[in-house]
Amino acid sequence: MDYVLQTNSLCKHYTHFKALNGVTMHIPKGSIYGFVGKNGAGKTTLIRLICGLQYPTGGDFELYGVKNTDKKISDSRSRMGAVVETPSIHPNMTAEDNLKIQYRLLGMPSFDGIQELLTLVGLEHTGKKKAKHFSLGMKQRLGIAIALCGNPDFLILDEPINGLDPQGIIEIRELILKLNHERQITVLISSHILDELAKLATHYGFIDGGRIVKEMSAEELEQACQKCTHMTVTDTKILARVLDSMEISYKILDDTTADVYAKPNFSQLALALSKENCEVISMEEHDENLESFFVNLVGGANHE
């Protein structure tokens, strides 16, 4: 498998604090890599190291096969774009001027792609409005547009949906999916909003206490998370008998509630229960989502 980024026992130690303590991770080419961790777990520190904002105190990483100690790492970095924490924009400039600055820094021969980029992130109608007057979502999208200057094939987004309203979250999600599907851009995205991450990521890296505790694909995660339907009925004894006859696994919680695993034909189930004078009061899909998986993985609140 081709990896855009690989880290090898990467460490960042401060005088009295170990922000990263031997992080080893692998980001496959073309993936959307969800980087999951609590506050202070080391997500942003790792991103800063990759972006060259800080230096590791131990270990190393390879970006497009170039080690961080190699002088050519600057060339590798020119193939990536990043939004670290807050979008890096000039507030007193328009969206277009912000992109022009980025184009100059990249040494692009013309400003031809700017309108296309603005359209891509939905900022084409901002005109002469200065970035300081933008909403948080618009600033975030401008930050992504800046990161996309020069057509990078690796995009790092650190908490891109923090503080956004639901509409803003949807817009950013759709943009990331569009970039991944249409432009084949590999995306490293860290987020606290795990359910939102679950709608995007093809791979996951779970970090805790400065270490990667698990790396897995979305398929592996799906298998690990058992889905079930939480049912409330008038009599779980009847429910158990019917489910047994349908060869469906379940777990009786009390006299009226039970968790039914797998996905039975609920019409048939309801009909069978009705024949035995058992009413279905409610049904609710219940699964161990990314959030609960993560909590179980890192030890939840007790771990703090």
Binding site: R48, A82, V84, T86, R104
Partner: protein, 252 residues
């Protein structure tokens, strides 16, 4: 490096167009004011150099601090520009623009002097005639000193803001400038005291050099070449020190 410089000049264009206009106005107004007291034409340039030294140094500090406050400096690092090039591009941009603006001011000042005032009308019965006579005789020798000392002061603004790496860089630059110019006003006392170390330190600082040229007399040891070399050395030391700190610094 050329990409970074092009970006810096693009960003600073608005500020420097405004400063350019202010320079011309100040030059003309300065000359017109100096007409009320004969001989002050020669000293007027010195007073303005002090002001402009502060303005340009402060502009460098504030502008770079904004890059840190807005985190736009990250964009340069992320796209692979080296820290050396980033530091040097800031320094070169501000030094070049300050040099050009100082040259514009000096040119406008002399031109205005030729148009509105008789530059040769100095009379020996004016207050402090020796100093003014000395100053008039050395007027053109001092110009290269301003052209180096004023841009050299910008190294302080770049150093402070690149070392602090936050929005306070601009503020601290201004505070340091006030301290430097306060130190400069002590220059006369240092000369009288005869303390060689203090006199040497005073001569190194471009801010003090500008001030010292106000209090020159025939007995003064004024050497433009020495001043230019010392200003250059001041700039080189601050750039080297600033880069050494920035090279290893952790950025957010």
């Amino acid at each position: 490096m050329s990409r970074l410089l092009s970006t810096e000049f693009f960003k600073l264009r608005g500020k420097f167009i405004a400063v350019f206009i202010v320079m011309i106005i100040f030059a003309v107004v300065g000359v017109l004011c100096s007409m009320s007291i004969e001989g002050t034409f020669y000293l007027g340039l010195n007073a303005y150099a002090t002001v402009f030294g502060s303005i340009f140094c402060g502009m460098a500090g504030v502008s770079i601090s904004q890059d840190f406050a807005n985190n736009t400096i990250r964009n340069k690092l992320i796209m692979g520009h080296t820290r050396f090039n980033i530091y040097l591009s800031y320094q070169i941009a501000f030094a070049v623009l300050t040099f050009l603006m100082t040259a514009v001011f000096i040119g406008a000042y002399i031109l205005s002097g030729k148009i509105f005032s008789d530059m040769e009308s100095f009379q020996a019965d004016q207050p402090a005639p020796d100093m003014l006579k000395f100053y008039r005789d050395n007027f053109f020798k001092t110009l290269p000193v301003y052209l180096v000392a004023v841009p050299a002061l910008t190294t302080l603004g770049v150093f402070t803001s690149m070392t602090l790496k936050n929005s306070l860089g601009g503020v601290l630059t201004m505070i340091l400038l006030f301290a430097l110019f306060f130190w400069s006003t002590m220059g006369e006392i240092f000369i009288f005291s005869g303390n060689k170390f203090l006199i040497f330190v005073n001569t190194i600082l471009p801010s003090s050099q500008i001030y010292l040229m106000q209090i020159f007399s025939e007995e003064s040891d004024f050497s433009p070449v020495k001043y230019i070399l010392l200003s250059t050395a001041f700039a080189v030391v601050l750039i080297t020190l600033g880069y050494a700190i920035f090279r290893k610094a952790d950025l957010k």
